[in-house]
Every structure is written in C-alpha cells, then in structure tokens.
Subunit: 352 residues, 2 copies
C-alpha cells in the first residue's frame, strides 16, 4: 500500500500546536495549564444529576439560544452580539477562517499565546509577529507594524506573561487597525478591568471569554465571543452546526446562574496569587505583575533546570523554550496547599 | 459606529448550511433529522450518574486515548488509525481544511449531504458536483468527472436518498481517484455492509462514523474517522487541541461498551423501517430502497404540500426543494407509535 500525501502545502512539514501535558496519574501537583483548583459551581453537579439522559438522542440547540440570552443580558448586549463555541479554540479557529487566508495576514504579539501563529500556519495565512517591549508591553509603533494584517489577536491579560496592557493602548489599536481586533479575555475574570465595552464603540472588535479558567470547566469546552451582529452573523455561518454539545450547554448555564460561587473562587485565587508571589519573591524570584491565575516568574537559577527539578518532585509547571521566554517559568495559582507544596519544593531545589 | 466587512470574499454573500429544525416544543413528532427513537444505552445514564463533577476543572485528554484504543480494536485497526471528533461535522471540516483550498477542489455527488458544498464554499475551494444517475446511482464516468479534485466526499449509504452504492464501484473510485476519498458512513450501521476494510487496501481512504444516529447520541457530539496513520497525523495537527469534551469521551465510551443494546436498537429500527415502507407503499407512495434509518419517498401528491400538511398535524419531516429532490420527502424511521401516527396522518391528508 503506497502512501502519497495529498495534504495542502505546509501541513506535513509543520509541527502543530502542543498543548500542556495532561498527566494521567493523580499524585501530581498540576500547575501547568491554568486550570482552577476549585470544583465547578454546585449547580453544575446538580444539573448533571437532574439531566435526563434520553434527551441526548436529539441534536442540541445549534445556536445556544438560552445561553446567548443570559450571557448577553449579563454583559449589556443582545443575543445577536453573542456566539458560543466548543472552548475558545473553536472561536479562534472560526475567526482565523473568517478573516485570514493566503492573502490576508494575521498579526499577534511575541510572546503571546502560541496557538495564534499555529492557527495562521494551519490556515496558510501569513503571520506578522510584533515583538513586545523588554517589559512585555505594546510597542509604540504597533499600528505601523500590524499594517496590512486583516486580523489581530491580542490576549489581554497577555499569556504567558500575565500582564495587562493599558486600556488606552487597546483602544488606540481598535480605532486605528484596519481589520478585526480580537481581544482574547481568557484571563480577564482575574484582572482589574476588561475591554467588554469596546464592542459598543468599535465595530471591528471581538471579545472572547472562556469557562475553562475562572469557572473550573476546562473539561466541558465552553466559550463565547461578543461582537457586532454582522461579525456574529458571518461567524455563525463558519461554525459547525452543532458545535456546542447539549450537556455543555446545560452545564455552562448552571455555572452562569451561580455568580456568588464564581466570585468567591475568583477572589480566593487572586488572594492566593499574592501569597504565592510573595513566597517566591522571598526566594529571590523575579515576579512579573500578574492579572491572571498564573505567575510568570524568573527563578534565581536556570529556568529550564528549575522546571525539570520540580517535575522530579511531581510538580508540573510550564516552560516555554523560545528566546523571549526561556529564562522564565509559568506557574498556575493552585490551591493554598498546592502553592505551599510548590514553595517548599522550590526552597529544597534552591538549597541544593 | 461604522461597520466595514473584513470577511474573506464570499462569506458575506453565502447562505450557510441550514440544519434541520430543532423544535422546542415536545408535543411534536420529530422525524426530520434522523435521530434515534430510543434512549442512549443504559450504561450512558450510569456513567453520567457516576461522573465526578470535579473532574471538569481539568482539560480533557486531547487525543481521546481510551476511546481510540477501543474503537481501533473493535474495527481491526490500531489507535494510530483513529481520530475522534466533536461530531462528524468537526471531522468533515478538518478534512476540508487539510485537503482543499482555492487551488484544490472538492468533489461530491448531487444529490448528497448538502453540507459538503457548503464546506467547500466556506473554505473558498471549488466544488465539483457530480450528478447521480436517474436512479441515484454513481455514473460510469465518475472518475473523469472528479478528475482534478483533491478530496471526494461520498456518503454511503447516501443521504438524503438512502441507497447504498455498490462496493465494487466504491473500490474503483478509491483505486482510481488521485486524492483523498472520504466515505461518510453516518448511516452504515443500518446497512447490509460497509467499507471499513478499504482503509487496509487504500492509503487514500478515510471512513467516518458518528454516534448521532445508531447510538442515540446526537446531543453528545461524537464521531471518529479511520485512515492511514499519516492522514490521521495531519488531521491531528488541524483539529482543535481539546475538540472532544471530557463528558463526551466518558459517555461515548459507555455507549461503545454496550454492544448488545446497540444491536437491539439497530435491528428494531431496521424492522420498523420495513413496516413504515410497506404502510406508505399501500398509500401509493414510491419508496426508494433504504439502507439507513430514514425513507426517501415520493408521495402520490405534491411533495411540498404533503410536507406542509404533515407539519399542520405536528409531524415534522424533511423537504429538500432542489431540482433533483423536490418531488420527495425524507422521513426518519421513528418508534412504532410515531410511524403509526405518521401513517394515520398521511391517510387523512390523502383522503382530503
């Protein structure tokens, strides 16, 4: 049997995106993919128990009507401003397909979420990577550098660096960029502000939000985007008809309807973030300001070695070997006990 | 606020795929989207009750390892031959993105699953639509007509016509077509044979299967594809990292592990199909041979009018207004009671 490749050019040669490890053993402290240390809202468990399995024989609502109504109302928009996705990845893929191709480039920052350039590659679209300044901020000539791109992906707060670009800088980009600006707010629930209201002012802005981090539902796959109705309309054509499963819709709704639990979890993670940062600072780490549920830190010893030493102690964090990030590790803010274990392990590693 | 469209050419103008209606009221007999009349396997309900909600805070296994092992073993392949998807739509989108673009056409039959040309449109790829013969069979010059395409989508059994193309004809296409042949076996569980073994003989063949029809899990979104490991490898790069949710993986596995219930349901649907066909034949309908869980039938009166009259009686079937299909309606094989209600309503409509 002879194999001939019929793949579009570039697919065979490219590497594909590598997601953070999902170790199968449970005796590991997993601080590598920014999951929440808390269980989902109690209502999610109840919704699961109440769910009548027979409903699964039917297709789900293709446009998540109830969720879109409630998300819209919570954010001051109408359902025509909302699209739901099978996680943010689904929405980012849809956006890439709607707005980029061989002749329409994507722009993104470096360092930022490493999925963006992979999405451009998969689409066969050029990718303009705009270096952040030395302190990981937006450069003054961002609009000149992004000129010619049709889609600009900006993670705010940025990942893996954790900092929050000034809102005035974001607004300058939205006003000046000739194309779609996607503000990926995966971590916005942990930050002091967000850009949701920019959709009201600029018809080229898309905000994305996920339930994977602040709502403890990474396993469920649910995210939504907010934008001008015309943008939502085109994205709806591009998405798979039934992209959000019935159980995902039911459980995402249950989570949404428990704002108290959500706020409690977010506040606790923000408090734990400060404790963890303080502990690492005492151990001579350089800590970048974080507005997320993770810390981007520079250890007082070789970062890769520190990452590997932690792994030997069954603690998994994330290391990005690229030039701009290779002196840092990214540590998810875990439970108080997990954070304490990380600090203890770090102290042991540094004292060797 | 001024809106300027930044969509890739064609998106604004195109219509998008229209899925079958999902009415929200429950007092309707819904025979329009080929769902199963039976609940999912009892093990699915149990798996839902046993599921520990706290697991949802973690990301799912990105490559559905356990499912792929078991699916591979059941079909005589290895896990390297299997990829899983968020429903067949997800896999068909991945295939379209891997193998077609502006310069690489898709081929498909007409009439066939109307999603295929929509997928080509969304990708900006040309679509070669090859007319089936008058009795909805593959034309002799199929290879000549498909020449130049890089991807050929074939539903077998075909939808919406329900017939099964001869396996010898399929094999001739697999051997002669210079590109990827996708055999979409969404309905193969209801038919007398399937093409699964062709993957062993031809490195350019992809088989797709879904849990939406024969496994009563349309709401869950689960499907898989079987192909040469090199094809799977490229598709894995293209898919979203966490395309199959954790609950979907858990429940799909539970369904897979109950082969007895599955066979019982399939056999009952096949038996009901014959009863329904016989009933309609007695009412002077022309019935196309069906190897699926639906019937494609030509009513003795105007098909569109019949479709509308049924709707007035709260029975929803599917009508495709295109030239080749406008004299037929497609009726899902429902429960014995639903089928009897359809026959009764039809008798009333015809006697008016």
């Amino acid at each position: 049997m002879n194999y001939t490749s019929y793949f579009r050019p570039g697919i065979d040669a490219m590497e594909g995106y590598t997601p953070g490890e999902q170790p199968k053993t449970m005796d590991i402290i997993k601080l590598n993919t920014n999951e929440s240390p808390f269980p989902p809202a109690p209502g999610v468990k109840q919704a699961l128990l109440d769910f009548e399995t027979v409903r699964l024989r039917r297709y789900p609502d293709p446009v998540s009507s109830v969720l879109r109504e409630e998300i819209a109302a919570m954010n001051g928009y109408g359902p025509e401003n909302i699209i739901t996705g099978n996680g943010s990845d689904d929405l980012l893929t849809i956006l890439t397909r709607c707005f980029t191709d061989e002749h329409r480039a994507m722009a993104c920052f470096d360092p930022s979420y490493s999925l963006y350039p992979t999405l451009a590659n998969l689409q066969g679209a050029p990718c303009i990577r705009i270096p952040l300044t030395d302190d990981f901020d937006i450069p003054d000539d961002v609009l000149e550098q992004a000129a010619g791109a049709n889609l600009f992906f900006i993670a705010r707060p940025n990942a893996p660096t954790g900092n929050l670009f000034a809102k005035a800088k974001m607004e300058r980009i939205c006003a000046g960029f000739k194309g779609i600006v996607v503000i990926d707010e995966a971590y916005a629930d942990f930050s002091r502000d967000n850009c949701m209201e920019l959709v009201k002012k600029y018809a080229n802005v898309v905000i994305t939000r996920t339930f994977s981090k602040s709502r403890s539902l990474a396993g469920l796959r649910f995210a939504f985007a907010v934008a001008h109705p015309k943008i939502i309309e085109g994205m709806m054509k591009m998405k798979d008809s039934y992209n959000v499963s019935m159980l995902t819709q039911v459980l995402a709704l249950a989570s949404l309807r428990d704002p108290g639990y959500f706020e409690k979890c977010v506040n606790e993670i923000k408090a734990n973030r400060e404790v963890l940062a303080e502990g690492l600072r005492k151990l001579s780490f350089e800590i970048l300001p974080s507005e997320t549920n993770f810390l981007f830190v520079r250890p007082p010893k070789n970062a890769k070695k520190y990452f590997e030493d932690l792994k030997l102690k069954n603690i998994v964090v994330r290391y990005f070997p690229m030039a701009r990030t290779c002196n840092y590790v990214r540590i998810t803010v875990g439970s108080a006990a997990e954070n304490a274990a990380l600090l203890k392990a770090t102290e042991e590693i540094l004292s060797c």
